[in-house]
């Protein structure tokens, strides 16, 4: 049984203009100790999916309209609030994109770690503070004991994200959801944080759901990847084979567009024509069809189902690039 299994998740937002179907039938599973990346452009529904797992989406104005989120066999969507809270921060923890705004500005780092501990563990204040120091050491925070008293605004961006990770790891979760954990950071700091996450994940044996728009981050961090487009997973599989030979035209287009360094400088970049469809009025068929170079009339008829492509690969496309031998053809 996978640690987390998302089936047919639908998360909608009601707006004046109509229903925004931000997540429209996402299927995804994560095994214990595995890192799965959920990758997509803005508006693809990757963050909404992540928030739906912990049901944080309701406070953000969204509504889970359908599907199941099975964590260790229990459906998170059917849990009462008390049981849900017992999972949050305890068995599933989360870190966010903007560490400065994600940390309470008027509480010290120590207080915020201690809170995370004491919400789920029967532990005294003194012991909790000692544990907090250990956690800060674990995330390689320089001079951890002094940092307990420090407030978020006095730390650098990288240190804030370390503090955030320490809070998330307080109860040794089985699953860590990382929502664009390095997007707000500079490249050199990003490398440090990704390195840290990789190392901690291996050491603690926890699974990780990494939400990112950066395919490079995926390549360097994840075991498996799921590519989202307009609220659906269009392709998923092991990172190495998927990135080597993407089956879905969107995945291929995305990869080509970012592999700038492999092209001769100044040459024309492969581009995906057009733009992302409005989530208010999705086409009846494949959402990518209007931009797809391989589209056929069949693509507009109905949405393609997820099909197996071998080697743990899945794709939702009527006309995939299938020959793995042929490899990636530079456009």
């Amino acid at each position: 049984m996978p640690l987390l299994e998302i089936r047919g998740l639908q998360t909608w937002f009601e707006t004046r203009a109509g229903t925004v179907k931000a997540v429209n039938g996402v299927d995804l599973s994560i095994e214990r100790g595995e890192t799965v990346a959920l990758v997509g452009e803005s508006g693809s529904g990757k963050s909404v999916t992540a928030y739906s797992v912990l049901r944080l989406i309701e406070a953000a104005g969204g509504r889970i309209a359908g599907g199941e989120v099975l964590f260790d066999g229990t459906d998170m969507l059917r849990l009462d609030l008390a049981s849900l809270r017992a999972v949050r921060g305890n068995r599933i923890a989360m870190i966010f994109q903007e560490p400065l705004s994600a940390l309470n500005p008027v509480q010290s780092i120590g207080t915020q770690i201690v809170e995370a501990l004491r919400l789920h563990r029967d532990i005294g204040l003194r012991a909790a503070r000692e544990r907090a120091v250990e956690l800060l050491e674990l995330v390689r925070m320089p001079s951890p004991r002094e940092r307990l008293e420090e407030y978020p605004h006095r730390l650098s961006g990288g240190m804030r994200q370390r503090a955030m990770i320490a809070i998330a790891l307080a109860c040794e979760p089985d699953l860590l959801i990382a929502d664009e954990p390095t997007t707000a950071l500079d490249v050199t700091t990003q490398a440090q944080i990704l390195d840290l996450l990789r190392e901690l994940q291996g050491r603690l044996g926890m699974a990780m759901l990494l939400i990112t728009h950066d395919l490079g981050v995926v390549a360097e961090t994840a075991d498996r990847v799921a590519v989202l487009y307009a609220g659906r997973v269009v392709e998923q599989g092991p990172v190495e084979t998927l990135f080597d030979a993407p089956a879905h035209p969107y995945t291929r287009g995305l990869l080509d567009a970012v592999r700038i360094e492999e092209l001769p400088p100044g040459s024309r970049l492969p581009e995906i024509p057009g733009m992302v469809p409005s989530l208010l009025a999705l086409p009846p068929g494949c959402a990518f069809a209007p931009r797809c170079p391989r589209a056929t009339p069949a693509c507009d008829a109905g949405p393609p189902a997820m099909r197996a492509g071998g080697e743990g690969r899945l794709h939702a496309c009527f006309n995939p690039w299938l020959s793995t031998v042929e490899g990636r053809v530079p456009a």
Binding site: L54, L56, A59, A60, R85, A86, V87, R88, G89, N90, A93, M94, F96, E98, S101, A102, L103, N104, P105, V106, S108, E115, A116, L119, H120, E146, E149, E150, Y151, H153, R154, M164, I167
Partner: protein, 336 residues
């Protein structure tokens, strides 16, 4: 280095620097007063001594000499400033007392009224604000919105008058004016109780507007904070709604309220003038009313200067509170 230690050390220098910043403000207020005197019809001494010959001609002449009215304006200004620095606010002929003495005798009553009104406004205001925020769009919330709108529209002095009609004249529950029962000779707890009974109506009247302001402010900051990232973090940690509301959201919602407090200390003093007039509360406001009626302009200017000083001091206090409750404010940094 631990932030707390830095903060404690920074506090002293912060206070000193803030005190130093008060000087130009006071100077500005004095300049404003002087400017009013300069452009006022008639000469300064006419204005200061009040009309209708309340002051003796000798004193008028003495004043003219003291102000050096034959001197150029800058010299006159220097005189004026010197008088203020030496706390010489002049003499009120109507009341036959030095202005400063008059003001000091009335100050405690005003401070008592303001503090009472403030306490009511802050406690009830935050309570209503928090409740409304946790139940957005419920009847409590709608009721609050209506109450707030109405309160903004009701003139304070009119509210006071109507309160007197209802609670004193019709129901007879509370006294209609004054600070204590004259001639009752009460002492100890009886006196305190008597003053409290007299205080209740004016304090409630004065607080109503601010109560609405704070309730609205707390409600909107709470709502904004509910959408804040760190509240989401708290949820993701598994914190319960009560914990989120009180420990995370309300603690942060206090900050804008404290800022608002500083903004409104001046407004509250203005409100006190009217409320004291309505309830014959023997404070600065009542004194101002008497000064208006007798055209005792010197006293009026003294009150303006002195009440401004009170506002400056209150703002200083609020700044200090802010430094203590918001770790982001660096007391060693200059003002942004």
């Amino acid at each position: 280095m631990a932030g707390a230690a830095v903060k404690r050390r920074g506090l002293r220098s912060f206070l000193l620097r803030r005190l130093w910043q008060v000087v130009p403000v006071l100077f500005g207020i004095a300049a404003l007063n002087f400017l009013i005197l300069q452009v006022a019809p008639g000469d300064v001494v006419d204005v200061l001594a009040g009309e209708a010959g309340a002051a003796t001609p000798e004193y008028m002449a003495q004043l003219r000499a003291a102000f050096g009215l034959d001197q150029p304006v800058p010299v006159q200004f220097a005189h004026y400033i010197w008088n203020l620095v030496t706390l010489d606010l002049g003499f009120s002929f109507r009341q036959n007392m030095p202005v400063l003495e008059l003001i000091m005798s009335r100050l405690p009553a005003t401070l008592l009224l303001m503090l009472a009104a403030l306490a009511i406004a802050v406690t009830l205001g935050s309570l209503i604000g928090v409740v409304a925020a946790t139940r957005v769009r419920s009847w409590v919330d709608t009721l609050l919105s209506g109450f707030v709108l109405l309160t903004y529209a009701v003139p304070t002095f009119w509210l006071g008058l109507m309160a007197i009609v209802l609670f004193s004249a019709v129901l007879g529950w509370l006294p209609s004016g004054g600070m204590y029962t004259v001639g009752a000779g009460l002492t100890g707890f009886a006196l305190v109780g008597d003053v409290l009974a007299h205080l209740l109506l004016p304090a409630l009247t004065l607080s109503t507007f601010y109560l609405a302001v704070y309730a609205r402010l707390v409600r909107s900051s709470m709502l904004e904070l509910y959408g804040a990232d760190f509240i989401r973090t708290a949820r993701a940690k598994g914190a319960g709604e009560w914990r989120i509301t009180l420990v995370h959201a309300f603690r942060n919602a206090l900050l804008p309220m404290v800022t608002m407090l500083a903004y409104q200390s001046a407004s509250m003093l203005s409100g006190a003038v009217l409320v004291e007039t309505v309830f014959s509360w023997p404070g600065l406001g009542r004194l101002a009313f008497e000064a208006i009626r007798t055209r005792d302009l010197n006293l009026l200017l003294g009150i303006l200067f002195f009440s401004s000083v009170v506002v400056v001091l209150v703002n200083l206090l609020v700044d200090l509170v802010y430094v203590l409750i918001d770790p982001r404010v660096d007391p060693t940094a200059r003002r942004a």
